[in-house]
């Protein structure tokens, strides 16, 4: 472990290299381009390759292809490019391909404000593509968090054979902070399960107990079938309700069942508080000092930060919020995650207090948003 001084994007790149990233595909887009530029210079020295593709559609598909050739793969983009990746993310879900997609939020809709951050794309991260699925979404709030949650994103992708979305934003991407980086061996790096069955008995989509099938890759003699259509255990296309039901149920269930490993939250003074503020990402950075200041003035107010946005550990979240008379969700959007929190905590005591700004939320703005409910 050693101290470094990095930007959020560079921390993601460094953590990806530590996690074993070997293939990065991307397309220039603000505020994600410097992540690719940094990796383009550095990754070849670790035996990896960085390719600038013709668009984000090619980027996600190339990353999925690389993953099936047996390497860890990643792409990074922002809202508009993420929109283009929708079908590819859906392919990764259906084929159970480990791949990490970094989405660095900016202001939308459409081209919006490329250089400014909001939290307008949290639902995009959750339900970007067509189909019935659940994919893990992580929301770092600091450079250290970018580093740690990138390692976690790769581990979750490999462990559950799923695409994972690391949801940063323009504020965190270009903010420089000190952080602790790990040396190889200092942190657990998970690799996908390999099949133990010989090629003749291998069924590419036959799950183990944990609902995750071992993954053979190209070139090992397993005659792998990557199938985008609804398929049975062999990877053969099926059009019947039973196969479809089994497939989508398992794809969702393997993530839901892994919620204990995937889900993380942080609590500050939640135990004894009448009002608990829920926030995540760069907005949470300002919620923390505001809540701290209010407590110093004697207000019984706490703060709960979501590190994992989906899947939510609903029992844990409900338990944490159960004592509060009021739950206030502060987001830099018109009310997205609020809907989930209201459903879990109960809509009668859950209130939405937006801070809609394209600059990092100021102390007074967040104070106003929180104090309104005290």
């Amino acid at each position: 472990m050693r101290r470094e001084f990095l930007s959020g994007n560079r921390a993601i790149a460094e953590a990806a290299i530590l996690s074993g990233l070997k293939f990065y595909a991307g397309y220039p887009i603000t505020p994600a381009s410097d992540l690719m530029e940094y990796l383009a210079e550095k990754l070849p020295r670790y035996g990896g390759i960085v390719v600038q593709f013709e668009d984000e559609i090619a980027s996600i598909n190339a990353a999925i292809g690389a993953s099936w050739a047996g390497v860890k793969a990643m792409t990074a983009t922002s809202g508009p490019g993420f929109s283009l990746m929708a079908e590819g993310v859906s392919l990764a879900v259906a084929t159970e391909t480990p791949v990490v997609v970094v989405d660095i939020m900016r202001a939308g809709p459409s081209t919006g404000i490329p250089t400014k951050a909001t939290q307008s794309d949290v639902y995009q991260a959750r339900w970007l593509a067509h189909g019935d699925y659940t994919i893990p979404v992580f929301a770092p709030w600091s450079v250290q968090d970018c580093y740690d949650m990138t390692i976690k994103s790769f581990n979750v992708a490999e462990k559950f054979r799923t695409p994972v979305v690391l949801l940063s934003d323009a504020n965190i991407a270009h903010m420089w902070e000190t952080l602790y980086v790990k040396e190889p061996g200092e942190v657990e790096i998970i690799e996908r399960k390999k099949p133990s069955a010989p090629p003749d008995d291998y069924r590419p989509y036959k799950p183990d107990e944990d609902l995750v099938p071992p993954m053979a890759v190209f070139g090992e003699g397993y005659k792998v079938i990557v199938e985008s259509l609804v398929h049975d255990e062999l990877g053969y296309y099926r059009q019947d309700s039973e196969t479809y039901r089994e497939m989508v149920t398992r794809l969702n269930e393997k993530i839901r069942r892994g919620v204990g490993y995937i889900y993380e939250q942080e609590e500050y003074w939640v135990e004894d508080s009448d009002v608990v503020v829920v926030a995540y990402g760069s907005t949470a950075r300002m919620v923390y000092p505001v809540v701290k200041a209010l407590r110093q003035r004697g207000a019984r107010v706490g703060f709960l930060r979501l590190k994992t946005l989906w899947p939510l550990n609903e029992e844990w979240l409900w338990k944490s919020l159960s004592r509060a008379g009021k739950v206030v969700v502060v987001e830099n959007n018109t009310g997205r995650l609020y809907l989930d929190v209201a459903r879990i905590a109960g809509s009668a005591r859950t209130f939405f207090s937006p801070v809609i700004t394209v600059d990092p939320p100021k102390f007074n703005e967040v104070m106003e948003a929180v104090a309104r409910w005290l």
Partner: protein, 275 residues
Amino acid sequence: MALAKLTLHPLDKYLRTDRLPHIWCPGCGIGIALGAMLRAIDRRINEGRLDRNKVVFVTGIGCSARVSFYVDFDSAHTLHGRALPFATGVKLANPSLEVIVVGGDGDVAGIGGNHLLHAAKRNIDLFVVMITNFVYAMTGGQLAPTTPLKVYTTTTPHGNPEPPLNVIKLVASLNANYVARASITTPHYIEMFTYKALGMKGFRFLEVISTCPEVYGRHIGLRNPVTMFEELKKRVKYKPNPVIDESDIDWEKGIVIGEYVVRNNPSYLDLVKRG
């Protein structure tokens, strides 16, 4: 697979015979094209120049893309138009793999057109077989980028107002090392060109003109599979060294097949290693 695998034909060892019969219509040319490709692959494997376990078929969506259903190699049936980027990722992640992309003209040159242009420009080490049937057949007979002018399709009921795309010309104008055209009426050339392309580096592109009596045949009055095959056969002319200007597909003047481009430009993998 632990399932009953029949081997009634010498090429059955390269097929997932438990998935047969295939979905292709009577008179469809895809099976002929695949058979010829497998014979070329078989020759290379028997000569010890190709490792069977290193062959990967990557396809997108469409009738031709269903090839990945039936070949008993590592295979990927991916998204419409996206086989090339997927295959590029595969090849760059593990350069020891021989990656073969198969698709229809709509898949490869229509929705996948941008990827085709950039893959050829990079001279990325892939072998691409585009099976041209002049129509979107799986979806029921809509306009394709190769559909000739004035032809009726379900989405151009008053006749196609767009001149067709000459994909050979497009790919040849870029950085591809090999650009050839064959026809399902000349399977020996499909085999020959495939055999040759598999021994080369860089981007290799083979167009196979095919018959689709079920869909395209209906549109142009050649519903009978035998008649359609005969009509195509009449029009196909092999030339040993055709020039690009001869590559326009003209149902009246004929269709020139042969090797349009054979060169040895540095491939993407060569250049990346040099970096």
